[in-house]
Symmetry: C2
Subunit: 149 residues, 2 copies
């Protein structure tokens, strides 16, 4: 789901999800914010438009979307799950300093290990951690103060 021109309502229907107002708004936010938002990020942002929004609805919706495979939950971060509307295989790099999460292209098929013969694989997650280029330079990092945890 990358093409903005696709109608969100139809997109949901195509994936067997009834297109409620809340669901469309949450999906819209996810597609417009591919920076791996947390549940709270999503809730805070969408609540500005949908004032009655409940966090439970956000959880329900994200679970629903995940089951329908239109988004993926990431476990790159320690505490919380983050969500990614890009369901194509790719890796995630988490910077230990600024806590930023970067996507990176990777040819996951080359990984295909003989060791998993006989296993039915559903998802492939590639999570790297380390220091991002920006933080390598800036010893004094601004992001780290606001987000260190």
């Amino acid at each position: 789901m990358t093409d903005k021109s696709i109608n969100l309502t139809e997109y949901l229907i195509e994936h067997g999800i009834r297109p409620s107002f809340q669901r469309i708004k949450i999906l819209q936010y996810l597609i417009g914010n591919k920076d791996h938002p947390t549940v709270d990020d999503i809730y805070q942002a969408v609540a500005k438009e949908v004032s009655t929004l409940s966090k439970t609805t956000v959880y329900n919706t994200l679970t629903l979307f995940t089951q329908a495979s239109i988004i993926k939950g990431l476990r790159a971060s320690e505490n919380e799950i983050r969500y990614d509307p890009d369901t194509a295989d790719h890796g995630h790099f988490k910077c230990k300093k600024c806590s930023g999460i970067y996507d990176f292209a990777v040819n996951i098929d080359t990984l295909q290990s003989d060791a998993l013969a006989g296993f039915q694989i559903h998802e492939k997650g590639i999570y790297f951690t380390g220091i991002c280029p920006a933080c390598m330079e800036n010893k004094t990092n601004s992001k780290s103060e606001e987000e260190t945890k």
Copy 2:
């Protein structure tokens, strides 16, 4: 840390960790149980030998070991962190049915993607999910009942 003949006390000292009784027992358990135990698994088991053991000590110790890179924390499971004394690069497969976690050999170096030029990589995590061979056969699976969540 695979060779059982290595003295655990010395092993800890070599890694800059003071070898307290609790730390040795926890390390001993980890090395003897490479089935990716949870914090509670470790606590329950070691508490049988060290009756005064506190769960906080287990957390402290695991954090210490992880910082010293003698174990690795896995996020293959949804809720909780699991620990692995095998710090060599390898993948983890989580079966959605029986919740079992399998190690698998994988040549992570082949992954090296150009996209990460300039990034300083510390850890590489490979997490697959799906159905394990045992669960593919047994439609009625026993493990799933005890561990489904």
